[in-house]
Symmetry: D2
Subunit: 295 residues, 4 copies
């Protein structure tokens, strides 16, 4: 059993903190709007009034926030986490951020004698709730091994990727693949529909073959039901597409497919679908073709 | 047991004809270069000197050729299949062709009292040999049901898609997804490599998650081994990308991602990799980034 | 003075036939809907009931139709022009067609002892009316020089490009540039507008500099006036974009920019703007950005 | 006659400072590597050892640097320009920077009682030397009018675009058009060459028509001569393409064409052509098509 501070209780944090509690760890939670702590206190969490109070007794500090800006704000801004940590603690940032942000956190915490891991996660609301995330980690291997028992109740698999920044890098690489798959299922389903195929029959084929993917079942099935309820919001996907573009710019890596897809995601947000599920940008493809995919 | 004529013994035809023989069917084979018939004769096939001889006694006629041109040549050109068929026979074209070609075949055979199915297949050399193809079929449902027992030994699954042309349409829709996935794994692996990640670790992550796909394991694994041995040739993938573009043009469906990918595949063929595996166009992405993905 | 048959009196043909008459040539006109001949008869043209009658006494035969299909129909289809021509005549196809169509015409006319030039034109309604076209010609140089006096009253400049098919090729190459410039002015004006710049000020800058172009003044000025009255219809621009894509496919030339632009033009037609001016596809860019360019 | 401080004597600065001297203004120059001042001292300039010395007596301060970073370094970094300026002075930043940098400069100088204009320029080495630049200015209109006499000897035209940041915005909008035109001439010339057209004949056509542009003459002519001597370096064009992408991201403006072109420019730099002229990225298009444009 470890003593953990969990900071920020958004859609991801609530699931993760709950799973840590269920696994028997001692968890102190903090959230800017304090009411969100209640369900976790009901599960046995202690509630702290500030990040500094939350981390005071913690062996390990975790957070999974919305973006780089929120991380900057917690660590160096209003949250002042950087002043609250003590030597020997371990901090895990599970947010999807630019690898440069991870490296900046790593360096800043190292100066305080604190070990840092960038440990972003694949999966969204459901996987966070069910402990089925896939976690990719950058930092010192021995620190990774130390926290591994904590990651168990959160995840289906964990992956050590190398030095700090490599967890964050892997996350962006993976999200590039996700963007491709959403565009792929979108273009394919729109083409099929305009060709007169039954979308459900098409999904039946995409459910088998060696190019099948669970994401086609999930997104494709929701598409034919016209279900764009948010699991991972389109506005966050745009944020990630922008991060990937920035990351690829830093490395001067041409991504002709990825670039075309990002422009499409921008359109989806401009059309007003930013609060819907990421797959809502498929409606941009539909509008362009003048057809709607539905059962 | 049925009496089958199998015309054309390319990389796909050899596997399929062999599986029909192994399933106990009577198969007469024909191939332009007659020597290729020998291994099938050894398995019990009869060998015919012309398509007309091959189909004379057949209940069902099958062919899976390289492209629309080869089909035109067999049916209306040198092969004169259209003159050789008799009322009551069933013809299955398993080639990846433009749906317009399928519809033209369907109409021509109908005039002869012959039932026609467009029945292209997903999978390549290995799946043809192992009877693990995924077959998508357009035509009359009762004809589909009649030939279903013949398709069993060839396939893992078969899918009835609707009227003639819809099998061919589904094949192009599926190949659009394949093109996306090759570009996705290519861009992702190149970005990851230039970021300093170990490509094998990246494949380890892509092997799990809800956006995993068997094709990432296969193509990604071969990529890090620098193995571009042909399973499905890049020049054929270009042919298919061109067919998809033509099909989307006919329907005026914008495919911004698919279009970007097609241009990349063209480059791969111009670089001299047309006879290598389709995945060889990932080398275009590598060259553009000035990096090579390898273990 | 020459004796000319002018076949087809669309938006381009009317202007060209009139300019030939004004230059003192004897012109016999034919049009499928005969009423369109009246204004030209008023200028001194003779009217023929069929293409065959029109070309009976002609030294030179001209036509500038809507697309490859219309050319096929005139030459080999309903029009039977191929049966009507006589040895020693010269035929000029001024339509924008695939170079393969030009070469097919050239070969067919050569068998009849008839010289053929592919001679498509840059410019649209106004330039046709004012004799300000730019004509690009493929065929035998001596034939080009023979007809040059006829092209003078139609054109600002004429350009001999080489053997048959090269006039048609040059036309497609030029239209690729036009497509780029429309996309360029569209993306630039939309970006500028969303950034708060006054669109008229932006046009003022684009009117000077070494990257200025008359097309920016024309299209840009109309854009800020929200004037999409047809000069060259978007549906014809889509036809040309499709021809360019086919031409580039035949030569396996990757056109990453041109391909992205074609997909956008498709969207414009699907949005219902095919009968508006080609520049109407800029509205696709506006909708994607959620902004409208206007004075 | 005004008293001017000109800071930084790169390829642009040398021409501009010389033209100010020739117009009779008193100019004090500063450059990090002092030797570059010599030719201007020979024309009558005073030389200063630091930016602070240079601006001490100046009414107007000018600089045109390589990028945002160099501006940051001059104003707030090593150069400490922000500490050296005095109320009543006017500062003009003629660098191509992100509009956010312009606005940051504007705010910082305003706190010092200093008026600021963002005044980037179109044109490169030759236009700077010949006083033929096109200048686009953001800031207070009365300040613009005050400095207008100084801009005369530098420019062919000047354009007032509105408040601070709008000069910088216009520059990026214009460079987007330039990127399109380079891609356009590249794709067009490569397609034409592979089609067998003579590249010089193609340039002859592009020299007329209503979509002609001086840039086609310049870049196209150099291309057929295989002349990639630097006028505006490709690495700077990549910098600008990245700025445009960032600017469009801030405004969430989709630029499907511009995005495709940026990826191509990245390839050109990775291929090792960053120090050649911007037009060198056309070689990427050539390599992709397997053909070279030459006379």
């Amino acid at each position: 059993m470890s003593t953990i501070a969990y900071l920020g209780l958004g859609i991801m944090g609530r699931g993760m903190a709950a799973n840590l509690l269920k696994a028997g760890h001692g968890v102190t939670v903090w959230n800017r709007t304090a009411e969100r702590c209640a369900p976790l206190v009901a599960l046995g969490a202690r509630q702290a009034a500030t990040p500094a109070h939350a981390v005071a007794d913690a062996e390990v500090v975790l957070y999974c926030l919305s973006d780089d800006h929120a991380v900057e704000d917690l660590v160096w801004g209003e949250g002042r986490l950087i002043d609250a940590v003590r030597p020997g603690q371990i901090v895990l940032d599970m947010t999807t951020v630019h690898p440069n942000t991870s490296r900046k956190e790593s360096a800043a915490f190292a100066e305080k004698g604190v070990d840092f891991l960038d440990a972003p996660v694949f999966g969204s609301k459901n996987e966070a709730a069910n402990g089925g995330l896939w976690i990719v980690v950058g930092g010192k291997r021995e620190v990774y091994e130390t926290v591994l028992p904590l990651l168990e109740p959160l995840s289906e698999t964990t992956h050590y990727m190398g030095e700090n920044g490599r967890g964050a890098s892997m996350k962006l690489v993976g999200n590039l693949v996700v963007a491709f798959q959403l565009e792929a299922i979108g273009e394919a389903m729109v083409l099929a529909t305009k060709a007169g195929l039954d979308p459900r029959d098409v999904l039946g084929v995409l459910h088998v073959t060696d190019f099948k993917s669970p994401i086609f079942d999930g997104v494709g099935g929701a598409l034919v039901r016209r279900d764009f309820d948010v699991n991972f919001a389109l506005k966050l996907m745009l944020k990630d597409a922008n991060l990937i573009a920035s990351f690829a710019q830093d490395l001067n890596v041409p991504l002709p497919g990825g670039a075309a897809i990002r422009e499409n995601i921008k359109v989806g947000v401009n059309r007003g679908w930013g609060e819907e599920n990421a797959s809502a940008f498929i409606k941009v493809i539909e509008e362009g073709a003048g057809v709607q995919v539905k059962a």
